[in-house]
Amino acid sequence: MVQRQLTGTRIRERRLAMGMRQAELAVAAGISGSYLNLIEHNRRRIGDDLVARLAAPLGVDPGALGEGAEVDLVATLREAAAAPSTAVSTEPAEDFARRFPGWAGLLADTHRRSGDLARMVDTLTDRLNQDPTLAASLHDMLSTATAIRATATILAENRDLEPEWRDRFLGNLDGDAHRLAASARALAGYLEQSAQAGAAGAAPQDELDAWLSAQDWHFPGLEDGTATPDTVLADAEGLRSDPARGLAQGWLQRHARDIAALPLARITAALPRTGADPVALARATGVSLPVAMRRLACLPPGLLPVPVGLVSCDAAGSFTFRRALADFPLPRHGAACPLWPLFAALSRPLTPLRADLVQAGRGVAAVAAFAIALPVEDGNAPDLPLIEAHMFLSPTTPQTPPRPVGVACRICPQDPCPGRREPSILDASPAQQVV
């Protein structure tokens, strides 16, 4: 597996850069020199625990050696490379991220920031074009200004105006001036309100995701009943914009309902038998499958032996729940890869689909995906059933070659691909394909 090479090579490069001998590092990390040699030459896969023990004597953050951080960084770099004006497609993003982590991080941050700004421009343009309040307000102000201008010109250019005409136009002018002042005040108030609503500038979903990640997707207060969604939200400093707070409120309320349906104590009791298997957990506890999936995706860190991810979407393909796995990044915005079983499940409600997947590109491990589409509870009119699809993700060691999928077409090198709907900017050189 290509992924291992990255961590081992990074450890070796870092050790050599520090002028440290292999034996020294092995002693510091409490392993044998020959074992470290195998690791450095990417002959052994190493766990998070050992990465942390090696990172300390090397004076680096474990994330800088581990794979998760880099996969995320590389995915962002690929996004940046996909911008129409760039011509860096042939340069492997992994090499860049490994050799110049600082620059790569800066580029990724800048790319994220520019994406946020572009979305803000789109939002504002949309608002100008489609906001009925703005359109009506501007129309009113321009009409009034037109009347004032035309009337004022007549008064200025006709000094010999008959008194009755002059009085009449002065009256019109006075009325229009008041009206203009009132319109301007109303518009200023409206714009101020809008500015507050969009303070952070980021897309609300991104703001929510960042906040949930910062909380590790886990809220002890909600689990033990000492907090409510409202008190959690009141203390949430990371959520700035009103739309993001609105999304978070809905998220927390659903989370609280899930906790009520399946408290943590029952999960910990069931876990030894079920493991991170949502079907087994749902069966053992009697809750619905979506509840079991979401509970598994929001457990206290360390409770599960492996990290898990979950993506849910509505019938239009919009994400309603998104927790990415390091080896399975999700697109920041826009449509995802149509090859995901998540979308196949939508056409086959109630039918579970299982597949081992690997995202195209180097340095990514396979994940096991379990997808199912189910009617939304409490959300159904008889003639218009609402369907929600869920895809539960966990690490796996596949017995057969995993199915290659992507994040989204523009940043996916997979070629040929039956699901491609727009060209990729990335080169589909053989080195970038994982089979």
Binding site: A135, L138, H139, L142, S143, A145, T146, A147, I148, R149, A150, T151, T153, I154, E157, N158, W165, R168, F169, N172, G175, D176
Partner: protein
Amino acid sequence: MTKSVLIIEDEPNIVEAIRFFLIRDGWQVASHGTGDDALEAIRAQAPDLVILDVMLPGRSGMDILADLRADPATVALPVLMLTARGQARDRDLAERMGVSRFMTKPFSNAEVLDALRQLMPD
């Protein structure tokens, strides 16, 4: 010969100002304030020229223009269109539909007068 103009605009103070300086310039001026029956008013009064606002109560000036151009009797009638939205899209649409002149608010009295004189030379 006196030239006649029909102003189709729902803002009474704009109508009053335009009416004033057009009468002083020697035009015969009539006005109409709603969109839904504007076509009937134009047909009844048969003016030499129409000043047409885009945003009218009842019916859009664009639709009225389309009807005027579809009728052989008014296909060549000079139409000066007024809009509070100077967007290129509106202008393109109006030009495709055969507007004679397009003017965005707030315009000056002199601009309106110049446009009318160009559309109806002596």
